[in-house]
């Protein structure tokens, strides 16, 4: 009876796991199938062909989009880490005028849904003349309120004696932050880095609003425009273009899955 229930549990888990994994495996396999074979349920194509990838690469600037996405997500992540840490350090460990107001404003911003500010942000970008620029993709994301709150929480737990000793040695607050706090904060820094990078990498609504030039599109945007605009021509081609977006993420996820889960679940709960 007990072994029977064990088998049932594992069978259930296997079916569930397959439900989540199989569609992605099927997608990967489909991109290697010929037009005739496309849509078959199996994972192993009779004839492996790279035609879908060749077509996709030739018809839209996916190489450029990969570069754009990487650049935008990396810049945003670095900015959120460096400037976010500075803010969090000041809020957690330094006394300065306006500190209480800044904390209150941060919590207030957290309560406002993004849909409310979407249009005014868009008109702001238009008025700044930033449509079709990297600035439009990056500037609204250089700070992340959730990241600041997480970093502040962590910085509050680092002993004051470390700061006092460093100040006696004549260290500036910037050096204390980056040479003493940062090495101690690796766990929270990696959590912030992952959810910030992933958020930017997967974002599609904002780029759809502020970028129209194909050369500046990020991957999810170009993928959406390409698949919807009929540029792909066939499902195999549009799935092949989706692979450009998915493969780097899945590879990173396979190596760092625990960090991904901790980061993306944690940010959602606190954010």
């Amino acid at each position: 009876m007990k072994t029977l229930r064990r088998i049932g549990l594992y069978a259930g888990l296997a079916v569930a796991a397959l439900t989540f994994i199989y569609p992605f495996l099927w997608m990967a396999a489909s991109t290697l199938k010929s037009r005739e074979e496309f849509g078959s349920m199996g994972l192993i194509p009779d004839h492996i062909t790279l035609d879908n990838y060749r077509t996709m690469w030739a018809r839209a600037p996916f190489g450029r989009a990969l570069l754009n996405s990487t650049m935008v997500a990396t810049t945003i992540t670095l900015s959120v880490l460096v400037f976010g840490s500075m803010t969090a350090y000041a809020m957690a460990r330094l006394r300065f005028r306006g500190s209480a107001a800044l904390s209150a404003a941060t919590l207030a911003v957290l309560l406002v849904p993004g849909q409310l500010t979407l249009i005014p942000l868009y008109t702001l970008i238009v008025q700044l003349g930033w449509i079709d620029t990297y600035a439009a993709l990056i500037a609204p994301y250089v700070f992340n309120v959730t990241a600041i709150l997480m970093l502040r929480q962590f910085f509050l737990q680092i002993p004051q004696s470390l700061i006092d000793a460093a100040r006696m040695d004549g260290m500036s607050e910037f050096r204390i932050l980056f040479t003493i706090f940062w090495p101690l904060s690796r766990p929270v820094l990696s959590i912030v880095a992952i959810f910030t990078f992933m958020g930017s990498w997967n974002e599609v609504l904002w780029p759809l609003l502020v970028v129209r030039d194909q050369q500046l599109m990020t991957l999810p945007q170009l993928l959406t425009v390409f698949a919807l605009g009929g540029g792909a021509g066939s499902v195999g081609v549009s799935l092949a273009s989706a692979m450009v977006l998915v493969v780097p993420v899945v590879v990173a996820y396979m190596f760092l899955q625990r960090n991904f889960i901790e980061s993306m679940a944690g940010a959602g709960i606190k954010g």
């Binding site: 997608m27 609504l205 993420v249």
Partner: protein
């Protein structure tokens, strides 16, 4: 002391500036836009209460709100049940626990745009994987995304599939807080597995359930890329979402004032719905 003040101000200044430009200004300007007519080309003109009046009688907007409630009525309960079931399974002594957890979480890390494109194909009437499976099982194929009655439920199921791993983690965290002593006590009392679940596990997980309801509701109101990619809001506007309508007004019709009005209304609706939900769940707890 003075040195500390100066460093603090210096370090926090960029963030203060950011809040002013990218948070405070847009919030204030959203409320201003409600009373403006503006196509971004000509100068904005005063609209008085026109945007609000238009919104109140705009069938397309209320259709989108109603669609969202259809979505939520399927998505939220389904999300709770599937996440709870998977979390309970994962909470036992298991082999390959990390693998199971990672596989449930996989769709969470994948872009919504990719998931939408992939599932358009899984749902396709003639060549879709799901219908092929149904046909093999002896059923007739279902036009998932082209039938007005199944399109929104199909999207709701897909979004549940995409996000469930996230909510599994929330429930797992909650399960670890149920004291071992309580579990042992209730077992000694001779409670059945169902009774243990009904009278210990479920009530203990109430904070997590509230979180799941709140987050999946907010998420539902943000529905955009799925209808944008999969149905264009059709068939018969049955999958049109509020954010898709907002986007269309801004981007296709160039009506900034009206689009901002939709945004403000959406924020108010989200706030109201979440508040009502918390009240209802809180009252259920008291019973």
């Amino acid at each position: 002391m003075r040195h500390e003040h100066r460093s603090g101000s210096l370090m926090a200044a960029p963030y203060a500036l950011f809040l002013l430009v990218f948070a405070a200004y847009p919030i204030v300007f959203a409320l201003v836009l409600v009373f403006l007519r503006w196509d971004l080309v000509t100068a904005p003109s005063l609209a008085g209460f026109d945007n609000i009046k238009m919104l109140a009688s705009d069938g397309r907007f209320w259709r989108a709100v109603a669609n969202t409630f259809v979505f939520l009525s399927i998505h939220v309960p389904l999300q709770i049940v599937t996440a709870l079931a998977l979390a309970l399974a994962l909470n036992r002594k298991l082999k390959f626990r990390g693998f199971w957890r990672a596989s449930f979480f996989l769709p969470v890390v994948i872009s919504g745009a990719v998931v939408a494109i992939l599932w358009s194909n899984l749902y396709a009437t003639d060549v879709g994987l799901i219908n092929k499976l149904l046909v093999r099982l002896g059923s007739s194929p279902v036009p998932w995304l082209t039938d007005p009655n199944t399109a929104m439920p199909a999207i709701a199921v897909m979004v549940t599939w995409k996000n469930v791993g996230f909510y599994v983690i929330i429930y797992l965290a909650g399960l670890q807080y149920i004291p071992k002593s309580c579990q042992e006590a209730i077992e000694i009392e001779g409670a059945s597995a169902w009774q243990r679940f009904r009278y210990l596990t479920l009530p203990s997980l109430l904070p997590q359930t509230i979180l799941v309801v709140t987050l999946s509701t907010i998420n539902g109101f943000q529905l955009f890329i799925e209808p944008y990619v999969m149905t264009g809001g059709g068939p018969l506007r049955r999958t049109y979402s509020v954010v898709l309508y907002l986007y269309t007004n801004a981007f296709a019709y160039q009506k900034m004032g009206y689009a901002a009005t939709i945004g403000v209304a959406l924020a108010l609706i989200i706030g109201a719905v979440v508040l009502v939900q918390r009240r209802v769940i809180g009252r259920a707890e008291a019973l």
